[in-house]
C-alpha cells in the first residue's frame, strides 16, 4: 500500500505548507501591529518629523501621501477610462490591437524603480518640474495606468452584450451606449478596481524617490494659496510621502528613534491599505445594490 501511504504523506505536507504561509502572514501583521500600534497617537499622526532628535511625527508625510494619491487618481482615471473604452468597445481584433495590449502588459511589468527613473528624466529634468508633487503624481500615473486600464477593461468586459445590443437597437450611437448604459452598469466594479489600485499607489515608494523628492518642508495649514511655497496644496513643492519616509530614515537617516517611527509609519501604511481593501469590497457591493434593480 505504498501509494496510499504516499498520498497521506503528501497531503500532510501540503497542509504544513499552507500552514506555514498563513503563519508568515500572521507573524508579519502581528509584528507590525504590536510594534507599531503603541507608537500611534494623535500627535504622532499630526506633528512634523524631526531629522536629528527623537519625538518627531509623520503629519506632513501622511498629508503628502494622501494629496499625491488624489492628484494621481485625478490624472490617471480619465486616461485609463478612455483607453479601456477604446480597447473594449472600439478596437477590432488584429495585429495592432495585439501590439497595443502587449505594450500595456510590458508597462505593467516594468520595475517601479525604472518608472521612477523615467519620471526623473522626463518630468524633473526635461520638463523642469523639479522634485515636486506634480512630478511624483505624473510618475505614479505612469505606474498606475496599465493596472487601472486593465482593471476597468475587465469591468467593461463583464457587462453582457445584451446591454450593448439593447442600446444600439434603440437607435442611439455606440458612444452614447457606452457612456449612458455600459459605464453606469460597470460603475460598482470600476470603483472597486480604482480603490484597490489606490492602495498600491499609496504604498509605492521606489517611483517617488527621484520624482517627488525626499524632503518634507514645513507646511502652513492656514495658507491655502496654491502658489505659496508653504501651502499644503501647492503642487510644485517637494513632498516626501509616508512610504518614502520609512525607506529614507531606515537607509540613510540619523534619527535616534528611527525604528520606532518606522514601526508606527508601517502600521499606518498597513492600516490604510487594509481599509482600502475593505472599502473596495464594501463600496462595490453597496453601489451594485444601489444602482441595479437587484
Amino acid at each position: 500500500m505504498n501509494a496510499k501511504r504516499n498520498d497521506k504523506i503528501a497531503t500532510g505536507l501540503l497542509y504544513t505548507i499552507a500552514g506555514i504561509v498563513i503563519l508568515i502572514l500572521v507573524l508579519l501583521l502581528g509584528f507590525i501591529i504590536i510594534r507599531g500600534l503603541p507608537q500611534l497617537s494623535w500627535s504622532f499622526l499630526t506633528s512634523p518629523s524631526k531629522a536629528f532628535s527623537s519625538g518627531g511625527g509623520i503629519g506632513i508625510q501622511l498629508f503628502n501621501s494622501l494629496y499625491l494619491l488624489i492628484l494621481t487618481m485625478l490624472i490617471s482615471l480619465p486616461i485609463a477610462l478612455g483607453a479601456s473604452i477604446y480597447l473594449n468597445e472600439y478596437a477590432k481584433p488584429g495585429m495592432i490591437t495585439n501590439a497595443v495590449r502587449t505594450m500595456i502588459e510590458i508597462l505593467s511589468s516594468l520595475p517601479s524603480v525604472v518608472v521612477g527613473l523615467f519620471g526623473f528624466l522626463l518630468f524633473v529634468v526635461q520638463l523642469n518640474l523639479s522634485f515636486s508633487i506634480l512630478s511624483g503624481a505624473l510618475a505614479l500615473t505612469v505606474f498606475n495606468l496599465p493596472l487601472l486600464t486593465r482593471s476597468i477593461e475587465g469591468s467593461l468586459k463583464a457587462i453582457s452584450n445584451d446591454q450593448r445590443n439593447g442600446g444600439l437597437a434603440l437607435g442611439i450611437s455606440k458612444w452614447e451606449t457606452v457612456t449612458k448604459i455600459i459605464l453606469p452598469a460597470a460603475v460598482p466594479s470600476i470603483v472597486s478596481g480604482v480603490i484597490l489600485s489606490a492602495g498600491r499607489v499609496f504604498g509605492e515608494a521606489a517611483a517617488l524617490i527621484y520624482t517627488a523628492g525626499q524632503s518634507a518642508p514645513a507646511l502652513n495649514f492656514a495658507n491655502w494659496n496654491p502658489f505659496n511655497i508653504d501651502s499644503p496644496i501647492n503642487p510644485m513643492r517637494p513632498a516626501e510621502t509616508l512610504a518614502v519616509h520609512i525607506w529614507k530614515i531606515n537607509s540613510e537617516g540619523i534619527m535616534p528613534d528611527a525604528t520606532a517611527v518606522s514601526a508606527g509609519s508601517a502600521a499606518v501604511l498597513i492600516i490604510v491599505v487594509l481599509l482600502f481593501n475593505l472599502l473596495a469590497r464594501w463600496l462595490g457591493r453597496a453601489l451594485y445594490k444601489c444602482l441595479t434593480a437587484a
Binding site: 501509494a3 504516499n6 498520498d7 503528501a10 497531503t11 505536507l13 501540503l14 497542509y15 505548507i17 499552507a18 506555514i20 504561509v21 498563513i22 502572514l25 508579519l28 501583521l29 509584528f31 507590525i32 510594534r35 480619465p78 486616461i79 485609463a80 477610462l81 478612455g82 483607453a83 477604446y86 468597445e89 472600439y90 497595443v100 502587449t102 510590458i106 508597462l107 511589468s109 516594468l110 520595475p111 517601479s112 524603480v113 505612469v142 486600464t149 450611437s173 458612444w175 492602495g199 498600491r200 499609496f202 504604498g203 509605492e204 515608494a205 521606489a206 524617490i209 512610504a243 520609512i246 525607506w247 531606515n250 537607509s251 525604528t259 518606522s262 514601526a263 501604511l269 491599505v273 487594509l274
Partner: protein, 306 residues
Amino acid sequence: MDKIRESILTTSRASKLERRGKIISLTCLGGICLVVVAIFGFIAYRGLMTFTSDHVSIIKFLTGTEWNPSVSKNGAPLVGALPMIAGSFLITILATVLAIPFAIGTALMMTDITPKTGTRILQPVLELLVGIPSVVYGFIGLTVVVPAIRTVFGGSGFGILSGTFVLFVMVLPTITSMTVDSLSSVPKDYRSASLALGATRWQTIYKVVLRSATPGILTAIVFGMARAFGEALAVQMVVGNATLMPYSLVAPASTLTSVLTTGIGNTVMGTVQNDALWSLALILLLMSLAFNLAIHLIARRGAMKR
C-alpha cells in the same frame, strides 16, 4: 432647403459626439503607448551614453568585476557591472526556487485538497500579502531577518540571504495566485478519469494535474522572477549595498536596483558615474522585456500542445 433634406445631409449631433468620443478614447490609448515608447527611448538614450561618449566597451561593462566609476584605470573608468548583475540574478533565482514549493503547495490546497475552506482562508491571505507595501517588507527584513541571520551565521547579517528571504515572501503571492489560475483551468474530467482508474489523490495531482498545468505554472514562475528582479527598496534595505562580487550568501552585496536607488541622487547628470548607472537601468529594462518575451513563448508552446 427643407428640413428633412437638411437633416439627412448634415452630420447629426449624435454622430458628431460619436466621432469625438472615439477620438478622445483613442488619444488616451495612444498616450499610454507613447509613454511606453518614451520610457524605452529615454532610458536607452541615457544608458548608451556610457558606451558612446565615455568609450567603455560593452564586454568590459558586462564582465568587469570592479565597480568604482570615479576611478579610472588605463584611461577608462572602472565600471564593471558584473557584481550587481550577479547579485540580482542570484537573489532572484534563490528567492524564486524557495518560493516555488510553497506556492504550488498553497495553490494545490486551494484547488484540489480543500477547495472551499482553502480558498476562504488562503485567498484573503494572498491578497493581504500582495497589499503590503514593499518598504514595509524592507523594514521587517531590516528589523527581523537581518538580526536573525546575524545571530545564526555571524557577520553583519546584510547580504544575499536576507534579500532572498524578503523577496521569497514578496513573490510568493504572485506565483501562488497565477498557479491557482492554471490549476483550476485543468478540466475536471482529467481528475475524474484519473481517480476512476484507481489513482490516489496525490497520484492524480502529481501525474495528471501538475503536468497538464505545467505551462501555466512556468508562466507564474517567470512572473514571480520578473517581480523579484525589479524589486528595489525592500532589497536595497537588507542587501548591504557593497558593490563586490557576491562570494558568500551572508556577506554584503548589491543588486542592479539597489545601486540605482542609492546612486542616482549622489551623482551629477552627464558624468561617467551617472551614465554608468543609467546603463544599469537599461539592463534592468531589457531584462524586464526578456521576462515578458519568455512568458509569451511559454504561452505559445503551451497553447500548441493542447
